[in-house]
């Protein structure tokens, strides 16, 4: 009987650990998509420093601006879907656990995802593909962008680690 209880408890712990892991991936996915949305809304639309494809299509002609707005719109939709999927996955993981998922590790994972998008943006969009550049000034600010992005990733990892130390008391 006690063996059965022990096995059941072990199974519960394993299931909870699995849900926590899935929750972390989900929070990271949400952070990635949310960061993309913030990028396009603040930098592309409000400040108008650059657009998604302003390295290819000019921002100062009507046809070029329309191409850029279209690209921004499609990019925003993609990021909205990614953020929505991340949020939905967190919700599903939360519903499956008996105990609520710990908040700090989830917040840390979301912050890592946020920084990961910015690293992706600077490496792939700015440097490899040349789709656009920060402030539309060549690649002058790419190193700054990369450092800030890595700081976000580091901050996320710090929040995640301190969160896991809080919840398990071991790490």
């Amino acid at each position: 009987m006690s063996d059965t209880n022990g096995a059941s408890r072990h199974g519960d712990t394993q299931a909870a650990a699995d849900e926590r892991r899935l929750g972390l991936v989900a929070a990271g996915t949400f952070g990635f998509g949310f960061s993309g949305l913030v990028d396009v809304l603040v930098l592309h639309h409000v400040l108008q420093w650059h657009h998604l494809v302003s390295g290819i299509y000019p921002m100062d002609t009507l046809a070029g601006l329309r191409a850029n707005i279209l690209a921004d719109g499609l990019f925003s939709l993609a990021m909205l879907v990614i953020a929505g999927i991340g949020a939905g996955l967190v919700w599903r993981a939360e519903r499956r656990t008996r105990l609520p998922l710990p908040a700090r590790p989830l917040a840390g994972a979301a912050l890592i995802g946020l920084g990961a998008f910015d690293v992706f943006d600077v490496v792939v969009d700015h440097i490899l593909l040349g789709l656009h550049q920060p402030l539309s000034r060549g690649g002058q600010y790419n190193p700054h962008w990369l450092i800030v992005s890595l700081l976000f990733v580091g901050a996320g990892y710090y929040v995640y680690r301190t969160g896991t130390a809080d919840t398990t008391g071991v790490e």
Binding site: L22, L62, R66, L80, V81, I85, L89
Partner: protein, 52 residues
């Protein structure tokens, strides 16, 4: 000065779609929700298969 609410396109060019805007909204918004919901189910199944 630009009006706060644009009642017509502020730039040149044709309307984006030949169908009424309310039809576009009626199709686009639920489609987006379905896309996100389907993506959640698909990703959930995929992640579970990977983690097993």
């Amino acid at each position: 000065m630009l009006p706060m609410v644009a009642t017509r396109l502020l730039h040149a060019g044709p309307q984006a779609t030949p169908v009424p805007h309310w039809v576009v909204l009626l199709v686009a918004v639920p489609s987006l929700w379905v896309l996100v919901g389907g993506g959640v189910l698909l990703a959930d199944r995929l992640l579970r298969r990977v983690s097993d």
